[in-house]
Amino acid sequence: MADTNLPSVETTHHEWDGIEELNTPLPRWWLWTFYATIIFALGYMVAYPAVPLLSTATAGMLNWSSRGQFAQEQAAAKAARAGTEQALASLPIEQIAADPRLMGAAVEGGRAAFKVNCVQCHGAGAAGSPGYPNLNDNDWLWGGDLRAIHTTLEHGIRHPGDEATRMSQMPAFGRDGILNAGQIADVVSHVRVIAGAEAPSRSAQRGAQLYADSCAACHGAEGKGDRALGAPNLTDAIWLYGGDRAALTQTVTNARYGVMPGWNRKLDAATLNMLAAYVHSLGGGE
């Protein structure tokens, strides 16, 4: 092994504590590569938008811009989607459901549209809140098949100015003086008994007769409700406004009229179809 006094290697004549710095110049091609990158950068500045000005930037000679490229890509994506969009807008919802590919696109599109238009009332997960139906469950006031959901979306519930809107009106039994407070308490007892929330009682027995006279016309003799009228099923586990005594008393006394807009004025046919498909896909669709 040789010692480290390298006779043929130049030093830079720097020495620190006996350690000398070898002079190892870089090869010239390295320098030329560096110049080449500078030339490339200059060319790039001329060809592409590069120099920032006050409110814009130099345009570059190739007329390229990231915005322009984005617009192009958007147009291409739109063109690729055109067929699907056309079908979603023109086909009835039943035919869309028959085509798994269209239905997949509809559900995804509906998911997006729901986030914009529906979450304010029905919540981000479509789980609703008192007065605003949970769209995930399998209880439907007006029907839960695709067509029924679509009609509700289109014309809304009690939407003023729409002839075809879905209407149901429960009398305000207390406020309008049809029943007195004691009678209302009895009806509430009866309803809670048929809903399985309370044991039969004398009050409930009295309420049964009152129910048959005043309520059965809409809610049915057994309290199963009537979808044609939008009358809720009183025997299931789901209460739109709550099923405890206070909430039920309140409902019977003053009646409740939830309102949903008819979306056909604001949304196009494709979006209505997509929303119907999405709501139907949430797990309760019939």
Binding site: M1, D3, T4, S8, E15, A126, N136, D137, G283, G284
Partner: protein
């Protein structure tokens, strides 16, 4: 750059040194052309063998076939970027199994420690692509232009038909090899026979031509023009490897205690009674060096430990009737011992020592772990993501429903019927979003296409009295005992809610 005046303190206390040369004019110098001489010997033949093996592996591998049935490619080694699959003979890697690639990288890292601590920069000298292709290009150059002296003469010769012809032939051959290099690379990424046909008929994808173009250019420039410059200026490896050597790693070294003083006319010097070393200063070792250095100046960064200087000097020693190994693979420790008079140490003694054995143990352990986990991995995989919003839904009859998204991965090259079963949750049932509640049952059968992921949204219903915990179990229905189980929590309202 040092101003000339700053050099005053130079040779303090080293009076015997010659006056320092004047500082160079520039920080940049023209590359000195190197014309390495041909050499023969043990290490040269070893290099030929390794070159043949590595080139054969590189060029032949994409053409090996491996039957995987009708649903998967039949190429033994294939990186299928479009479908995000990696095929390596019987092993198929999916993106989520990237830890196998990570494991290979760990093995490569430990392997680097192992090899470097045992035999120094053997990678650089023998197996590095830059070394292999540069060696090949040098060989082509010698074949056309002749050996070192002929090349020097040719460079000095004026331009004439003979010189032009030779230059054209050399660069043409270089470009052909470069193109074959780039061409072989793309075959790892697509079915090789199809791609070869498409490529030749101009129907291959643009990226294929671009890749071949770029790799042709880099191979031609790196192996034809830049050669040792890549090793010295561009490659980080020598710095890393040099830092991993220790006193007992093998490096190529010149035994100055035996060679010095160099005796040009040994006979005469001996007759005059002057001390003589074994080195006759014939510069054979310098002439054969592909990086153009003089190993007699000591170990240096530019040395790729290719050992060609060992072959060259051994031949000289044989001629002057001296023992071989004036330049040889040796460790620092052995060098010190030998300089003090101990006999040369056989190479194998340096290979087996605690450091190399430790690295080997680690390396082998990672390898074993990978092989074992490859053998034990399941090719049918279930992953379940429960819905977060809403956590649960109360149904009309008072039952509670949860929704989950399941993904079933079928990593085999055949469609597989599988069943997703509900385990636990008495009174519970499930159905998927493609059907509805009427088809609720304890399980659900789906067919997952070959080599695909099937994603389904599944609804699970149970009375609210059901226990909290349940599982979804994946069962292969084709008889293979492969499947997976995911433990889950059944979300339901708090009491009174």
């Amino acid at each position: 750059m040092t101003p000339a005046g700053a050099s005053v303190a130079a040779p303090k206390g080293k009076g015997q040194r010659p006056a320092p040369p004047p500082p160079p004019e520039s920080l940049y110098v023209r590359r000195a052309d190197i014309f390495p001489r041909a050499v023969d010997g043990f290490y040269r033949r070893l290099k030929w063998a390794i070159m043949a093996a590595t080139l054969a592996v590189y060029y032949v591998t994409p053409w090996l076939r491996w039957d995987r049935g009708p649903y998967a490619p039949d190429q033994a080694v294939l990186v299928d970027l479009a479908h995000r699959r990696f095929y390596f003979f019987a092993v198929e890697i999916w993106p989520h199994e990237f830890y196998y690639v990570a494991g290979l990288l760990v093995m490569a890292g430990i392997g680097l420690f192992l090899i470097t601590s045992a035999v120094g920069r053997a990678w650089c000298g023998y197996a590095c692509p830059q070394t292999v292709w540069t060696d090949l290009f040098l060989h082509v150059e010698r074949w056309i232009d002749g050996d070192r002296n002929a090349q020097l003469r040719l460079r000095a010769a004026p331009i004439g038909p003979a010189k032009v012809m030779k230059r054209l032939a050399k660069h043409g051959l270089w470009l052909l090899i470069a193109m074959a290099t780039g061409g072989a690379w793309i075959f790892y990424f697509a079915d090789a026979p199809t791609l070869a046909r498409d490529f030749l008929t101009g129907q291959a994808a643009m990226v294929a031509y671009a890749t071949v173009g770029v790799l042709t250019a880099t191979t031609y420039v790196f192996a034809g023009w830049m050669r040792e410059q890549v090793c010295i200026y561009m490659c980080p490896w020598p710095r890393i490897q040099a830092a991993m050597l220790d006193e007992r790693s093998l490096i190529v070294t010149y035994k100055d205690w035996r060679g010095e003083p160099r005796s040009h006319g040994a006979k005469r010097a001996e007759a005059a009674g002057a001390p003589t070393g074994d080195c006759i200063d014939c510069s054979a070792c310098v002439q054969v060096c592909p990086t153009g250095i003089d190993i007699r100046e000591g170990p240096q960064l530019a040395c790729i430990t290719c050992a060609l200087c060992i072959d060259a000097c051994d031949a000289v020693m044989a001629k002057i009737d001296r023992p071989r190994g004036l330049i040889d693979y040796a460790t620092f420790e052995d060098c010190r011992a030998e300089a003090a008079g101990a006999p040369p140490v056989p190479i194998r003694r340096t290979l087996l020592r605690s450091r190399t054995l430790l690295y080997f143990g680690l390396w082998a352990a990672v390898g074993m772990a990978m092989v074992l986990s490859l053998g034990a991995r399941t090719r049918l995989d279930l992953s379940v993501t429960p819905d977060r919003n809403p956590l649960w839904v109360r149904l009309a009859d008072g039952d509670i429903r949860n929704a989950v998204t399941v993904k079933v991965r079928n990593m085999e090259a055949r469609p597989r019927p599988v069943r997703i079963e509900l385990v636990g949750l008495p009174g519970g049932a499930l159905w998927d979003s493609l059907t509805n509640e009427r088809s609720a049952a304890r399980g659900l059968t789906i067919t997952v296409p070959a080599d695909q992921v099937e994603k389904r949204r599944i609804y699970i219903r149970a009375p609210r009295t059901a226990p909290d915990n349940y599982a979804l179990r994946l069962v292969a229905l084709d008889g293979e005992p492969a499947g997976d189980t995911d433990e889950l929590r059944f979300e339901k309202p708090e009491e009174g809610e």
